[in-house]
């Protein structure tokens, strides 16, 4: 806030604050909530707009007159086949059950990451810091590599494996149909605010798979009396039902909602506390245990309950997280909605670590090195693989069938205009 009072940064700060508060793209000339620019909630967060002067043109809409004249849904498929006069969109996408992917989540869903080279003296360089403006304008998140909406090859270690890429591979008509509505610090208490930035209408758009992924902030806070500030099961139920009720009034019929449970954060202390933090690697003088206790002392620990040397507190946090997950599970069974069905899945942390061990890795390698808290690129990619396979096994109809015309689409439209 001090820096923002400098005259030459005042306007920029004001605009960034507006974007952060509204969770809508900064550059969006037609007001359709999609952008042609990557950062500041642009196409790193929602599929790239292919016409930013026309609000009726955006990713995820049902094609206008089969897109015979223009690409109204930005999936790169448009025009008429000269051989038979049938529009390509009708030929390749009609009846293929195409749909989009939307995620409502927290910093883990948006893929929070602070580059370790920013705080490691031996790795610092002009090049390492050259991405500061981009990283800050994306709120230290990297949705373009995330497990749900990632579409670019990871440049921050690991690899990109995402629900969106899988859905796109399954049906090329889903090209660019993704929305990342996550925010650092999101919990069931404030998720409804996030949902209000959704760009989907029942009248014009295709159905979507909505993933609800709040894996920790309902039990994570930095307060001294951290347990008192955790969400209670009855509050969780009210918050989630209220959010789903609003979602039902927004998404087209035939959509699906997938609720994922909270993570078991025991993994953090158990695997990290005695390891050296990047700041302590040079002189072997700062462990994650020390970092957690420093952050707790200042009341800025992102998760005092789990990032703590107090095993009783860690157990209480784990127990509460399990209770909140049970609430989600129960909602998925009992609640019915007009426009979507609801499913529940546990956050697959155990499966992720097992799979990583099988690949020859160690558990600590799944945690973000700088914050010692978030799942990293590898955990995110493996998590997606596990969830995707589970859905494919249990509820394949959620994902829709494979489009038999994928090869033709690739041959006629190449990369469909890219991302």
């Amino acid at each position: 806030s001090g820096i923002c009072s400098l005259p030459f940064l005042k306007d920029l700060c004001k605009n960034i604050e507006k974007v952060i508060k509204s969770k809508l793209p900064y550059k969006d000339f037609d007001g359709d909530k999609f952008s042609t620019s990557p950062n500041l909630r642009g196409y790193y967060w929602r599929g790239r707009d292919c016409d930013d002067t026309e609000s009726s043109v955006h990713p995820g809409r049902r094609p206008d007159n089969w897109d015979a004249k223009k690409d109204s849904n930005c999936n790169g498929i448009w025009g008429v086949d000269p051989k038979d006069g049938i529009p390509y969109e009708q030929k390749f996408c009609n009846g293929t059950d195409s749909k989009g992917i939307i995620i409502l989540g927290d910093s883990a869903a948006a893929h929070f990451h602070i580059p370790p080279e920013w705080i490691t003296a031996s790795k610092m360089s002009k090049k390492a810091f050259s991405n500061i403006p981009e990283v800050l304008s994306n709120e230290l998140d990297w949705p373009q590599f995330s497990g749900t909406t990632g579409f670019l090859n990871s440049t921050i270690g690991g690899w990109t494996e995402s629900f969106y890429l899988n859905l796109r591979r399954r049906n090329h008509c889903n090209h660019r149909d993704y929305q990342q509505l996550s925010k650092n610090g999101a919990s069931s208490e404030n998720i409804l605010d996030l949902l209000k930035s959704l760009a989907r209408t029942q009248q014009f758009d295709k159905p979507a798979i909505v993933i609800f992924a709040l894996i920790g902030n309902d039990v994570c806070n930095g307060k001294r009396d951290t347990v008192k500030h955790m969400t209670r099961p009855d509050e969780m139920r009210i918050n989630v039902i209220q959010t789903l009720h609003y979602l039902d009034s927004q998404v087209p019929k035939g959509s699906h909602v997938l609720l994922t449970g909270l993570v078991n954060g025991d993994i953090l202390w158990d695997n990290m506390h005695s390891r050296y933090h990047p700041l302590g690697q040079l002189n072997k003088d700062v462990t994650y245990g020390q970092l957690y206790s420093f952050l707790s002392c200042l009341q800025v620990n992102p998760c005092r309950g789990w990032m703590s040397s107090n095993s009783t507190l860690r157990d209480v946090t784990t127990k509460r997280a399990a209770q909140l997950s049970s609430v989600l599970k129960e909602i998925a069974i009992s609640e019915k909605y007009a426009n979507f069905d609801v499913f529940y899945m546990d956050y697959p942390l155990k499966e992720i670590t097992e799979l990583w061990h099988k690949l020859g890795g160690e558990t600590w390698q799944l945690i973000e090195p700088v914050d010692g808290f978030h799942p990293n690129q590898i955990a995110s990619a493996l998590g997606t693989r596990i969830l995707w396979e589970k859905i494919l096994r249990k509820w394949p109809y959620i994902l829709g069938k494979e489009n038999p015309f994928n090869r033709e689409i690739a041959s006629v439209f190449k990369d469909q205009g890219g991302h």
């Binding site: 806030s1 820096i3 400098l6 030459f8 940064l9 920029l12 705080i119 003296a121 031996s122 610092m124 360089s125 002009k126 390492a128 810091f129 050259s130 500061i132 403006p133 930095g222 700041l279 040079l282 002189n283 003088d285 700062v286 020390q290 970092l291 420093f294 952050l295 002392c297 200042l298 009341q299 800025v300």
Partner: protein, 121 residues
């Protein structure tokens, strides 16, 4: 809460400067200048860094050359503050004389230095 983040930011920055000096076998002043040199011109980041260096640089250099660690230094320039009834928060191991004594000594030095800096400004 903001105070907590300010303190974390200060301790991390000072730690980085210490380590830059150590890795490149340079003086604290050179390390600070090296750090600012890493920032790009976009958003005036480099300019802001050098501006902060003009304001806080002499104070930081003097304390770091007197071998104060990041915790002590950040308390001495009041970017970390002890809350009433709460302990001093520290990232590194406590100094042998105790954090209180070490901070008092650094505050004594800071008073002289800050008045010198303000006079300079």
């Amino acid at each position: 809460k903001n105070h907590g983040y300010t303190c974390v930011g200060c301790v991390i920055t000072i730690s980085i400067v210490e380590q830059l000096a150590e890795v490149h076998n340079s003086t604290v002043k050179e390390a600070l200048e090296r750090l600012c040199g890493f920032f790009s011109e976009i958003w005036n980041l480099k300019r802001i860094c050098f501006l902060l260096l003009d304001i806080f640089g002499p104070t930081i250099i003097k304390r770091m050359e007197a071998k104060m660690n990041a915790d002590m230094l950040c308390y001495s320039i009041h970017l970390c503050r002890q809350r009433a009834g709460q302990p001093h928060c520290h990232l590194y191991d406590l100094p042998k004389v105790g954090l209180n004594a070490a901070i008092k000594e650094s505050e004594r030095m800071a008073e002289t230095q800050i008045s010198e800096t303000m006079h300079g400004l």
